[in-house]
């Protein structure tokens, strides 16, 4: 399927950049007639993915986060990739309430799953993780 529009950004793994990532994601989504609610859902999903990279992927150390946004005819895709420590057991990490810290809800992946129509996670320990998620575009919503 042909890509109709694309943005690639590189972010340093700093907490300040979580807001930049989600605002850029929302701006990219604004070219489709999504509802405000749907744009809000994309913001939360991207926020969770980038937060995971900073906290878990790079364990709050320096690193690079790549965010790729692709617009296709029928979906909007966000890919968040890092070269961090990776996830040993993806199925376990994706379970709701899986968190080592009582101050965190362990809902990052649950939110991504609920708010997007597709979610794939691939990871290799000590190499990095790639999260790919997409939201469907109903034909009436495209410009």
């Amino acid at each position: 399927m042909a890509i109709k529009n694309q943005i690639k950004i590189y972010l340093q793994s700093l907490s300040e950049n979580v807001a930049i990532a989600r605002v850029t994601a929302a701006a990219f989504a604004a070219q489709i007639d999504f509802t405000l609610n749907e744009i809000e859902e994309i913001k939360v999903a991207v926020s969770e993915a980038v937060t995971n990279v900073i906290i878990h992927g790079y364990e709050e150390q320096q690193g690079q986060i790549q965010v790729i946004m692709n617009l296709y005819e029928n979906k909007l895709e966000y890919i968040i990739a890092d070269n961090g420590k990776g996830i040993a057991d993806i199925a376990l990490a994706r379970q709701p309430s899986y968190s080592s810290d009582p101050e965190r809800m362990g809902l990052g992946f649950a939110f991504m799953e609920s708010f997007m129509d597709e979610l794939d996670v691939s990871s290799e320990v000590n190499k990095g993780t790639t999260v790919r998620m997409a939201k469907k575009i109903l034909s009436s919503a495209a410009h």
């Binding site: 907490s15 809000e40 926020s47 937060t51």
Partner: protein
Amino acid sequence: MNITTFLKRGVLIVRVEGELDMHVADKFRQKIDNALETSGVKHILFNLEAVKFIDSSGLGVILGRYKKISAAGGKVLVAQIQPQVLQIFELSGLLKIIKLYNSEAEALECL
């Protein structure tokens, strides 16, 4: 993010403004915990009228305060939640344990 805390009728009122994500989570938590410690009150009321965005990092701080306060027999109340934030509260299951009110006054009445 801006946080204002003050006491009213023995309740710690926390007015928050901005976006509650991982960038502000530590400061948000510390500010509330300091206010709880110095005031020694039992209950806390969050006014979320000016919160336009929250994700699981922001929710985690509220849940953490809930655990602390309910363990000591206190209540956590939320007033003036905005629709986009309400959606996240619903999905997280927090609404099962935290009650919502239309205004600070209404929430204080119910204690």
